[in-house]
Symmetry: C2
Subunit: 552 residues, 2 copies
């Protein structure tokens, strides 16, 4: 890896987020990271933190050495019926260190974590070969998570760039990342990412398998695929997208669509099925795949290879036929003690979003739903982070556990560093909006703290409590003089002379003096005045000077 050391080391981003510092909750031998935001009024707020040691000024970061393998010291229960998985242990009533870590991280009871995992309604993607991981949980009873896709392609980008994209994405809040590399150096790129990733890493093994047959889907075999899965399992991949629901008989259902098959994995398997006129080897060998996953505790992300690629194709026969098959496969995987999540669309108009969640829960035993957006309209390429954030917020409110981000480059090109940040921040917004709507106990604390800071003109606190302190500060400083304005009791909207926020302070003083608490109190207190006013009102009501001609 030495040849790439220099530029990799050179580009990885470290240091705390503006106004915050790393803080650790300690539970027995576990250290749970938090982002502590320091406020100018002496208070502080601790936030869920996905950024890993990179934002800890006391940590030594070496991309070549990788992160410290902290989980090696954690308890590892014996396999249960051959499965060494969080699901198997949860069913056996065992609360693992991963579950304890997550309970503290989410601010919930460890028993809730165990029971939701046992129920198959939440997953903890944590390959035993990924000891650098800070475990996270994906399930509708917990904070909505977001995934950021990275990965080089045949067209562009280097290993160093991909590692930095991973660090960069988790810095801004990505809960998991997927390495979708399709070009050269797939194995080496993934090795760099795994050894430096504090979050669960997902892959789509069929992509690498396809490289091994020089991009010709018809040359794929079960053996090539299986060996690729094992290769990636050994590297520590935490969850894998498997498009085992794309059955030969479903493929023709896409023929009359506006946008056919848009899932890369889905179309690879469709091509294979058509060429061989046989059922997908992912389906016919699914049990074997489950045995591999059970040994490493890899979580299935059952792919929706027939998801709609446009508003016109949403919720159609092909999509829901595949979803039914994913339901069958969920039962098989869970029978093997393997954790499962289900991937979802894609492109769906708002009025068809809830049905996707309802059906997924019904057909897939409430396995965590993991959706890509969905985009609520197709007419805004270059703004699909926004078209999809609308759908993402709604589908998360309805119960989706994890949202796969979409960047402004979706449908147009590959995201750069700025696009990754924009995609992550946009999806943190959608996820948090859903946490608020679902009434997650701790979600509103941050909104309230920021709103209070805004109302009290603590500009710096408003910036530092936001998802992106740097950009908030930059935008403010564009129209306002920098330092003095940070404490100025006015903003550029109304100007120095008048301020609505200031008047609200007078209102409080007034209410305090007059001891007015409820509408009724006030009603009584000024009934008399009102009567007088009405009289006045009636008298003067009927004439007013109008300097306008008949033409008008």
């Amino acid at each position: 890896m030495s040849s790439r050391t220099a530029d990799t080391a050179a580009t990885v981003t470290t240091g705390p987020i503006e106004g915050s510092s790393k803080h650790y909750l300690t539970v027995e031998h576990l250290r749970i990271p938090q982002r502590r935001v320091h406020l100018t009024n002496g208070e502080h707020l601790d936030l869920y933190d996905t950024s890993g040691p990179y934002t800890d000024t006391t940590a030594t970061i070496s991309v070549e050495a990788g992160l410290a393998p902290t989980r090696n010291d954690w308890d590892r229960p014996d396999p249960v019926d051959g499965a060494a998985t969080q699901l198997a242990w949860a069913r056996a009533g065992i609360i693992t260190d991963e579950m304890r870590f997550i309970a503290a991280r989410e601010g919930v009871d460890a028993e809730l974590v165990r029971s939701e995992v046992a129920r198959g309604r939440a997953v903890i993607p944590a390959n035993h070969r990924h000891p650098e991981l800070e475990p996270t949980i994906i399930g509708k009873q917990f904070l909505v998570k977001i995934n950021a896709n990275i990965g080089n392609s045949a067209v562009s980008s280097s290993i160093a760039e991909e590692v930095e994209k991973m660090v960069w994405a988790t810095r801004w809040g990505a809960d998991t990342i997927m390495d979708l590399s399709t070009g050269k150096d797939i194995h080496q790129t993934r090795e760099w990412i795994m050894r430096n990733a504090p979050v669960p890493v997902g892959t789509v093994p069929i992509y690498q398998a396809l490289e091994k047959v020089n991009g010709d889907p018809t040359k794929l075999t079960w053996e090539i695929y299986r060996d690729t899965v094992i290769e990636q399992a050994e590297q520590g991949v935490d969850y894998m997208t498997v498009h085992a629901g794309v059955l030969l008989r479903y493929v023709p259902l896409t023929a009359k669509r506006v946008t056919g098959i848009v899932s890369r994995g889905g179309s690879i398997m469709a091509a294979w099925c058509l060429a061989h006129h046989e059922e997908s080897f992912l389906y016919t060998h699914f049990d074997e795949l489950c045995e591999v996953f059970a040994r490493y505790d890899i979580t299935f992300s059952l792919g929706d290879g027939l998801r709609p690629g446009s508003i016109a194709d949403a919720n159609d026969e092909a999509q829901f036929a595949e979803l039914r098959t994913l339901g069958e496969l969920t039962a098989i995987a869970q029978h093997h003690g393997v954790q499962v999540m289900i991937e979802g669309p894609g492109h769906v108009p708002m009025h068809k979003i809830v049905e996707n969640v309802r059906l997924e829960e019904e057909l897939c035993n409430e396995a965590p739903f993991y959706t890509l957006g969905p985009l609520a309209t197709d007419i805004a390429p270059a703004y699909d982070h926004i078209t999809s954030a609308i759908g993402a917020a709604m589908i998360a409110q309805a119960g989706t556990a994890m949202l796969c981000y979409v960047t402004p480059k979706e449908h147009l090109g590959l995201p750069n560093r700025d696009d990754v940040k924009t995609g992550v921040i946009t999806y943190k917004i959608a996820a948090h909006a859903a946490d608020l709507a679902k009434g997650h106990p701790n979600a509103q604390q941050r909104d309230d703290a920021l709103s209070k800071a805004r109302f009290e003109f603590r500009w710096t606190d408003q910036f530092n409590l936001s998802l992106d302190p740097d950009t908030a500060r930059e935008y403010h400083d564009e129209t306002m003089p920098a330092e003095p304005a940070k404490t100025a009791h006015f903003c550029s909207m109304c100007g120095p002379k008048f301020c609505s926020m200031r008047i609200s302070a007078d209102v409080r003083a007034y209410a305090a003096e007059n001891g007015l608490e409820t509408a009724e109190d006030i009603e009584a207190k000024i009934a008399a005045e009102m009567a007088a006013k009405s009289a006045e009102f009636a008298e003067q009501g009927n004439h007013v000077y109008l300097p306008i001609t008949e033409k008008v």
Copy 2:
């Protein structure tokens, strides 16, 4: 105005949007503008067009001269009971030229336009003094509209900039604009905007009135306010925000809020009420105001001066108390034959959004709802165009007729030209997503045309059919070689070697050959193979090479 001619003329944007040209529908003596998108396959798509003559290459644009006063030639029925308004005429069964123009523009029947206006469920803001206007309708049976706020402030910006912002905002799709100027030259700035605006223009007269008393709310009087309204009415302002629902007795209800009163107009009136300990002159003189509005056909936009300024304050007693009063005022205004819309929040978590629409419709006789966002969370300053687009799409789906845009600078500073474009495009997304969800007859045509172009690799058509062709093209060209790629049958996501879209073409061929149409056909056709497969499956199911140690 001559002193400002040069720079104004210099900065106004003209010329068609990339790939489109101005097209006119002709109905009797009316010419209804459309944006015609020309596709590379010889087809074209005509879109609703708000950009006015600025995008018509055959039009002569002179900012000093202003736009041609086309409506001067239109029929103007006599007043009905003293009201020369679209509402009065609609009630009298008269279909005006404005209604005919709108019917053609929306692709609906003119009688639907008349009946919705007569019912008070839609408004046509069209001051007789604004003959340059291309009439638009705001009501839940029609396309969801968006408003863009512009206006200089005590802190920055020139008249020329404001005119350009108006032209720029309508170019990208703003259906109306509001001039919220608060600094110097308010009258002159507005005059420039009115004479050059092809869309309805709204104002908040209390802002200018406040300037007349040097920014001291307590010095305001009914007379100063009334004269300001008449001054603006004479200039042709189409709708005015009036915070007549901020009653003295409601003010103390905001005392315990996290963010008190955040509406500028609301806090001005609250300050006045508190200082004089009297009821708001906007409320006590409301009948007189109606008489002025009835002469010019100015539409009320009844302001929500007590709207919540944070998630914590959403749907509280102060907000809904004012809404009840707005309901009373709606009845009074409509009794005078004056058109009314109702302004709404602000900041509302997703699960409290629908209640706002339900209550507004119940209390305000279904007068068109006009909301500001709402923001679905408070934690993302610098991204509030996105936090609010989520709320805006949902509230529009629930029945809101017009959405007031929010730019990335919300809460931080004044929007510049780029912020205005970003805000407008973001809100076109929210409005269109709602049009799709509400099943507007023509909405999905554009999505389907763009998706078809995407699927057929007609990149140029995909760009030109989008809300922002320039940015879509720019993003594409960042990762892909420019010209050749425009017709390349692959994109940068998968690279040249493999393409999911191409495989879909094979699927269609396969389906065609095999004549497979439904899941049943296929079920039958391959039942045999499946049986064989299952057998195989069972045999080979139980052993797989696993090169991993016991430790794992």
